[in-house]
Assembly symmetry: C2
Homo-oligomer: 153 residues x 2
């Protein structure tokens, strides 16, 4: 497994995601890594990420799958690329324990033009908690608020 | 539109959801209301709920759809009921602006046994940002950590 997170290669102006951006001070900093043909992310939910006491709320599991998938797509497309999500589909298979390290594993299912489809499983130890399929699309340039270079006089 | 949020009727021991639980001090407190045949939720993202600057990260949109759907299912099934999510499917149609009040509207699509399917649209003003379909299932009793009544000697 590589030591540098995929998200560490995101350009600064697209590194503010609450889920995975290294420049979002309030954010979750979900880190994705290459691991052979797959990608892997280890994440420990915060104590307040509750659904009902003892279990993780669905939105966090969805966020983990979403950010890990777009990260996996970026790793596939090459350093510095950035993807957004067109479709996120999550099956919740078992209640996700709150007091455990979660492991998300991603796999590239399809690459076609600007689109990359990624499947993600989320496990807590041996328990498979959720399974996702994410359609990622290369981020449109006009979504990025880059500093404009203005001419003088 | 009723003034009491659907989540206000959740029993105390299942009111800790980070997305919508009134007893989660750190949480988002997503509030859902009945509105005729539909349900409605108005929510203003926090400034740090960024995807790229100016837009909302997908995980928040997914959380909003998820919690609003399970709330809508609870409203359909009757006060005090509580649902969990079996499947969450979200189409992201347009980048969701960060500096806007989002409006999620829910509609019951199917009721079958313990299962209720809810569709949800998310708009910012006139802009439809996302559309979701959520399969909700009545919460299993064994998921709830109720205080046990123990006999004396």
């Amino acid at each position: 497994m590589s030591e540098r997170a995929i998200q560490d290669d995101y350009p600064d102006d697209v590194s503010h995601c609450y889920g995975c951006g290294r420049l979002n001070e309030e954010g979750l900093h979900i880190p994705s890594f290459r691991d052979g043909d797959e990608t892997v992310c280890r994440f420990r939910p915060r104590p307040y990420h509750t659904a009902v006491p003892g279990y993780v709320y669905g939105g966090l599991v969805a966020s983990l799958i979403d950010c890990h998938a777009t990260g996996s797509a970026a790793a596939e497309a090459g350093p510095g690329t950035r993807f957004v999500t067109a479709n996120l589909n999550v099956d919740f298979l078992a209640p996700t324990p709150l007091d455990a390290e979660l492991q998300a594993r991603g796999r590239i299912e399809e690459v076609k033009g600007r689109k990359i489809v990624v499947s993600v499983t989320v496990r807590a130890g041996d328990l498979e908690c959720a399974r996702g399929r994410v359609v990622c699309v290369r981020m449109p340039e006009d979504l990025i608020q880059r500093p404009r270079v203005t001419g003088r006089g």
